[in-house]
């Protein structure tokens, strides 16, 4: 674990965490600290509780229990002793600390006119490690190239949380802005200007405007900027050739993306979804997909400790989902193995299936209009 992150923890907690076995430290993903409840970590897609001497156990009763004092101290350190300065972040439920690590917070919300205005009595922390994995992008990038216009196709990276979307997008951004296309046919392409709209400060982990991750030489970062506005700002003044955004999902994001695409900019975005059918089920993404905005989908999934990726072109995606939906209409159980059920219509059909997708009821709006506009793309 990086040293600066360690220094955020209050001393007694740090002692426990410093004694974790080395192999755990290597693959540490999350540290979950809950007041008066056992200390949990997750590493290499497994979870475990931690005893006071740093050894791991599956038995939660034997685990170390962080106290109220420690939680208070941790909160103070995470917010740089200034809760008042991170009110906006508290409203969203997480704080990003130097190094790009995101700390999710759980506590009691304070409402103001029906909107979450603040989080108090914070008693749960989820420390998520941010890692630069140089080389990850090199495996994926060759599949995304557009040889005619010598750049990448519009790409949406899709996966459930915690599979490395942000890590991948960061490394691809680095490759593009430094001109490492990782493909024999693209040796003389040169690099491209990359613009990153980093709403959660996770891609670049900027400190005072300067990215702390290596993003290559031709990269501009709009830190902590709302995506929709950020994309427009980029287009207006920073003349990017590729725009990178994280976790799209709100209607205004889609609008801005459309704007970018028609301004001749390539888009690289990520979204939360477990598979393609999920993409077609989320209203905003479904609309983007139906408009044929994306040329590629990258699906990430984790097998064992390794992240596997699969690149699907737009046509294949439409085929695949329509196949699935026609099967769903046939009322097969959801967990039935697919692909065997129906003789697949191999022609790309702008099928009734897609229509059924779009006709899906929108999720119920639970709070007044303002929150609905804000959307639910936070994880």
């Amino acid at each position: 674990m990086p040293q600066p992150l360690m220094e955020l923890f209050p001393t007694s907690l740090r002692h426990v965490l410093e004694q974790l076995p080395a192999f755990v430290m290597e693959s540490l993903e999350e540290i979950r600290i809950r007041e008066n409840r056992p200390l949990e970590i997750s590493y290499g897609s497994r979870f475990s509780f931690v005893r006071e001497d740093g050894t791991l156990t599956d038995e939660f009763r034997a685990a170390y229990v962080p106290s109220k004092e420690q939680c208070r101290a941790l909160l103070e350190r995470v917010t740089n002793h200034s809760v008042y300065a991170v009110e906006e972040e508290l409203r969203r439920g997480y704080v990003t600390v130097p190094g790009g690590h995101r700390i999710g917070l759980a506590g009691r919300t304070v409402l103001d006119k029906g909107l979450v205005s603040h989080l108090r009595d914070i008693a749960g922390f989820n420390v998520r490690m941010a890692r630069a994995r140089i080389g990850f992008g090199a495996q994926v990038l060759p599949g995304l190239l557009d040889f005619k216009s010598r750049t990448i196709r519009h790409t949406l990276i899709v996966s459930p949380p915690q599979q490395g979307k942000t890590t991948l997008i960061r490394d691809i951004a680095r490759c593009i802005s430094s001109g490492e296309w990782c493909h024999p046919g693209a040796l003389d392409w040169g690099s491209r200007k990359v613009g990153i709209v980093d709403e959660r400060s996770e891609i670049a982990a900027s400190e005072r405007g300067v990215p702390t991750f290596d993003l290559g030489p031709r990269c501009d970062v709009l830190d902590a900027c709302p995506k929709a506005e950020g994309i427009m700002m980029m287009l207006r003044s920073l003349s990017p050739e590729v725009i990178v955004v994280d976790e799209i999902g709100r209607p205004e994001d889609a609008e801005a993306l459309n704007e970018a695409i028609h301004a001749g900019v390539r888009v690289l975005a990520t979204a939360h979804a477990s598979d393609l059918s999920d993409v077609f089920a989320r209203p905003v993404l479904a609309k983007l997909a139906a408009d044929g905005v994306f040329g590629n989908y990258v699906l990430l999934s984790r097998v064992g400790g390794k992240v596997e990726h699969r690149i699907v072109s737009a046509e294949e995606a439409v085929q695949e989902t329509s196949r699935r939906y026609s099967r769903t209409i046939g009322a097969t159980p959801r967990d039935a193995p697919w692909g065997t059920a129906l003789p697949v219509a191999s022609v790309v059909t702008p099928s009734p299936a897609l229509v059924t997708v779009k006709a899906r009821p929108m999720p119920a709006i639970r709070s007044p209009d303002l929150t609905a506009a804000r959307g639910n793309d936070d994880d």
């Binding site: 220094e7 208070r72 103070e76 740089n80 809760v83 008042y84 108090r120």
Partner: protein, 176 residues
């Protein structure tokens, strides 16, 4: 005879000096409280408009203070920054340690110290509105202390100056 004379002079000098030092303390107290009030006012601005993180805000404040308050705020700010994790974990601890360590070098008394300690216990731990309320509360307390300090100054500053010299004279008379 010569030695006696020197002794008398020394006693007189010492007594006068004690009186002057005492008087200076009476004069310094309202001045320092005033400075503290300015500091809190600045802190209020930093919190409400700048949303400056506490360590940085305190560092800036320490820049516009005079000794010994400069040292007080600089110490707190330094112990809050993450690199030096030795002197306390929370704002309350750092604040308390620094105030207790630096208070003897100021001319201020217990009432002001209490007000500051109470402020330190809440600083940084809550939302903006709440912080401002606490700071204002501390300022009101300090203002009350300031007016009593001014009264004390008017009443005792000259008194202690002359008392020092007269006391010394009394000692001399008794000894001779």
């Amino acid at each position: 005879m010569m030695i006696k004379f020197v002794g008398i002079l020394l006693v007189l000098f010492a007594g006068t000096m004690i009186g002057f030092v005492q008087a200076a303390r009476f004069a310094a107290r309202p001045r320092q409280i005033r400075q503290l009030l300015h500091a809190l006012q600045r802190l209020e601005t930093e919190i409400s408009y700048g949303q400056t993180p506490l360590p940085e805000a305190l560092l800036r404040i320490s820049g516009m203070m005079q000794q010994p308050l400069t040292a007080l705020f600089a110490t707190i700010s330094k112990s809050l920054s993450i690199e030096s994790a030795g002197s306390g974990e929370t704002v309350r601890e750092c604040w308390e340690n620094a105030v207790l360590a630096h208070w003897p070098s100021t001319a201020m008394k217990n009432a002001e110290k209490e007000a500051m300690l109470r402020l330190g216990a809440t600083l940084g731990g809550s939302g903006r509105e709440d912080q401002l309320k606490h700071i204002r509360l501390a300022m009101i307390q300090l203002q009350a202390e300031e007016s009593t300090a001014r009264d004390d100054q008017q009443r005792y500053e000259k008194l202690s100056r002359s008392l020092g010299m007269l006391g010394a004279a009394l000692v001399v008379i008794l000894m001779v």
